[in-house]
Symmetry: C2
Subunit: 378 residues, 2 copies
Amino acid sequence: MSNFFDLIHSSPDCKARRGVLHTDHGDIPTPIFMPVGTQASVKALQQRELKELDAKIILGNTYHLYLRPGNDTMKFFGGLHQFMNWDRPILTDSGGYQVFSLQDLRKISDKGVEFRSHIDGSKHFFSPESVVMTQRILGSDIMMVLDECVPYPSDEKYTAKSMELSLKWAKESRDHFNNTNPLWGHRQFQFGIGQGGMYSNLRKEYAERMVDIGFDGYAIGGLSVGEPAELMYELSDISTEILPKDKPRYLMGVGTPENILESIERGIDMFDCVLPTRNARNGQLFTTRGKINIRNSKYKLSKEVIDENIDCYASQNFTLGYLRHLFIANEILALQLATQHNIAFYLWLVKTAREKIEKNQFLEWKKNFLDFYLSEND
Amino acid sequence: MSNFFDLIHSSPDCKARRGVLHTDHGDIPTPIFMPVGTQASVKALQQRELKELDAKIILGNTYHLYLRPGNDTMKFFGGLHQFMNWDRPILTDSGGYQVFSLQDLRKISDKGVEFRSHIDGSKHFFSPESVVMTQRILGSDIMMVLDECVPYPSDEKYTAKSMELSLKWAKESRDHFNNTNPLWGHRQFQFGIGQGGMYSNLRKEYAERMVDIGFDGYAIGGLSVGEPAELMYELSDISTEILPKDKPRYLMGVGTPENILESIERGIDMFDCVLPTRNARNGQLFTTRGKINIRNSKYKLSKEVIDENIDCYASQNFTLGYLRHLFIANEILALQLATQHNIAFYLWLVKTAREKIEKNQFLEWKKNFLDFYLSEND
């Protein structure tokens, strides 16, 4: 059986790296951006369109899919790939982030977390083991461990205490993963998640102790939660110093195009974020000319296509003026075209980053691109 | 220049007919169903998907497009085909139906109708001539005349008076059409609209006097407004007795699959309706097995595809169980897939009708199809 992760090339002048993840649903070149398909659908995109845009892997969410359609239904359909008719890789988040966002609706113990459904108020319990089993049923190629997501800001004492609990859960998750088998005939991999709030000493200790447990890959969680971008970069940088070079690193929930490029520079391989899809639905487009708000009246009479530099149906075939009309008139097609374009842009961004890393031109390209991109925003 | 309409074949045992409309944006086989793209978009469908489903012609709406994006913008973009990037035929409704639906917001005179925008309350005026000119700007292949749509029910006196006004407008519309030229280098055709409420004598007189004015085709308006289906069929039947055989007949705003087949039998060539698109968004699917409400819990564990008899991406590649999940979870993809399927079904219906007419099997097929289709509804 091949390695899960191969490191192909490392930049000479920064920590940016070019790698490949091997899964039974196909290879994933890194650095990669993973479109978010929370409820078994990347909002406003068809599965064939995700392929057309050449999405290499998408996300699903354990919390949402556990509640709806539920584990029994998911099992009946033979897992998430079958259910949604998607034969490329899937990563599932553990649902920890969603459960801990429920605030008053959840109760935490060292065994796990009890919570009430945001849909119907029904009571449920997630343990490190149950979250592994739900992800066995989902059949995701990459599953995440359950962890406690500390609020931002949190004091050091609480953050340290939370770290102990999450590390205990991480160990239990890994043991349960090692003692159980995939259900659907393809391999599954498991990532640990490093937290540690905004404390560099805790981030460091957390990363070291995760590596001691030993996972197929390592995620950095609890960033991009409101802290300054520079602090996020610094804490990622500290983490990737410790994480082993031969394992993939995943910065969860990040972020803007500039966040992604800065983090690639600091040695991150994988990203997911709702920004390109959610902001598309609000009329914000990420383009090679910068961010634009398509509702702006200055686009009313624009015959320019959405983005001539992005090779996608939406970007090439419709004018800014037409897309603006669709938003103003509340047409569903507005959401479809804007989402297509934004995902195409994000995938273009990481693809270009990969090419530039291979040619040892990443830093230079990053600077030139961001200089232009950030100067042109609406 | 070729004929606009060629009648290819007439059924021996009913009035069903097989024809072709020739436009500069392509030929349209009849009987045909025209998906409704009110605001320059068929809701939830991309233009390339309309082509994939082999939609031969779509509708736009003069009232909506006049208000938004407005005639100046439409002119700037070079007409509706250019604006929405659709190179197949377009028919535009005159907007009369929408204006007369505004109730308290409009004031009618023999010159036309003053109304307030449903969007911002601004005051506007439509005359027979201005509606022709707006459709010149839109560049629709087929334009409709402005007419007064009488409410249902209306008494005979009011209906007769309304007929006189609408016939006056029809004549003015035709004169203005004949005295003006297309703006965008392709031919435009103009249809009259026969009203007459539920009065067969008025329907008859109206049709005769429309034919005297002389249009490229004839629409039957003001039906499917709440009257019994049998009455609609009877009034259509009366109209097609009078309308010339060498011109296309268009039954506006109709209807269900059974309405369409019954009307084809009575000599109608063209149909439009929001049912397949609007009902798709409410979770109602028209399938070869009958109408289904996909939210029904009986589909939760269905691994059947949406409709194995319909050749479309949505129909063939996703299960009823997955589509139900998308609706329950409020995913946009639900609307996209359901709309794709419903339009595919409607286009399959008229395509099959055309094939059966050619083989002199229409009546037999219609009976067998409807016996099954109507028995299987949820």
